[in-house]
Symmetry: C2
Subunit: 210 residues, 2 copies
């Protein structure tokens, strides 16, 4: 675990902090599709991603879902952090996008390290910052883009985060992430294929020139 921690966070945190994380954190592995954290869960620790990827979703009262953003190695979830520090329940759902390895750090340590390590303080601030930026991007796509543009962007993001341009995904799953219907996705995917931007196969989509 120590080596993976160093690989992912060694260039941000000092040796001492890395050791503390190793001592107090709990290593976890979640497999693709597994729910890591759900809406209204009571949160008492935050994740530090070592390997893999996590997708963060928002859900409303009627069960409509929307993908907010992806997390990858070296990331943490500022929304979780925010819940931890504010002692509130989770406002989002986190699902393993692929097999994912991460360390859960208890909230008590988060606060302690905030006072003791400048590097940790910076990390926390930067997390808030990058999550705010990603939320802004999400808002941009919702407010300013049509569904076809949102779809292409989604596929490209997903390909990047999975480090593969072959996406094993059904139209229905995409529809859930973008909060629309399967028929709309099928229609637009066909359009994207005709424009030469993707290639469609059963249970699989090939994203061209990434």
């Amino acid at each position: 675990m120590l080596q993976e921690l160093k690989d992912a966070y060694g260039f941000i945190f000092e040796e001492e902090l890395i050791r503390e994380i190793e001592e107090t954190g709990v290593l976890k592995v979640s497999h693709a599709g597994e729910i890591i954290m759900d809406i209204n869960d009571y949160i008492t620790s935050m994740p530090l991603l070592l390997d893999g990827a996590i997708k963060i979703l928002r859900e409303d009262e009627d069960g409509n879902e929307l993908l907010l953003y992806f997390l990858e190695r070296g990331d943490t979830c500022a929304l979780t952090l925010s819940c931890c520090l504010g002692q509130t329940r989770s406002e989002i759902r986190a699902v393993a996008e692929r097999d994912t390895k991460y360390i859960m750090v208890p909230v008590s340590k988060i606060e302690e390290w905030t006072t003791r390590y400048k590097s940790w303080r910076n990390f926390v601030f930067e997390s808030y910052q990058s999550r705010l930026s990603e939320m802004l991007e999400t808002i941009d796509t919702l407010a300013f883009m049509n569904m076809d543009q949102r779809l292409l962007r989604y596929l490209q993001d997903k390909a990047k985060i999975n480090q593969s341009e072959e996406l094993q995904v059904t139209h229905q799953q995409i529809a859930y992430d973008l909060n629309t219907s399967r028929v709309v996705i099928s229609r637009l995917l066909k359009k994207l294929e005709m424009e030469g931007k993707i290639l469609l196969q059963r249970n699989q989509i090939l994203v061209q020139d990434l």
Copy 2:
């Protein structure tokens, strides 16, 4: 200025910090409609709101605008804070919603106080937290609500922040804030009036039972 500071922030910050804010901060007044901060501005200080209200807008490359949220007394703008600490340019536009009084605090002090005052640290964290929550709400409205619901919500928010159910606003201005067209707004306002939720007059909208 000292009394206003105490009124707005006295129950969060200790006397000493209030005095420091008074010494180092610069008092500003902006009139309704004035741009306080624009996209790509280089930010070196953050605002602490004493009185009035500010609306925070996002804009894309083509000039399309979208209202993100309002700030009022006791608030600060976490996006600005984020820009300050990250030394990046503003990603948003801030416009005085009505006549507004605020104190600008330089970035150097922000960092200094973060280490010296626990109350300041908490304030900064809470700002991030409430701004993240507001961004989530914005995303909810965009992703899960139709334009008529968004419009009603907008009118109610605006009435609340202006402390008046008589809104002096044109259909075109609303259209800008919601990133749609004037005709759509006129149409939906008429519908809301027929449903008894608002009352339309020239240059004015009366929001019912707030």
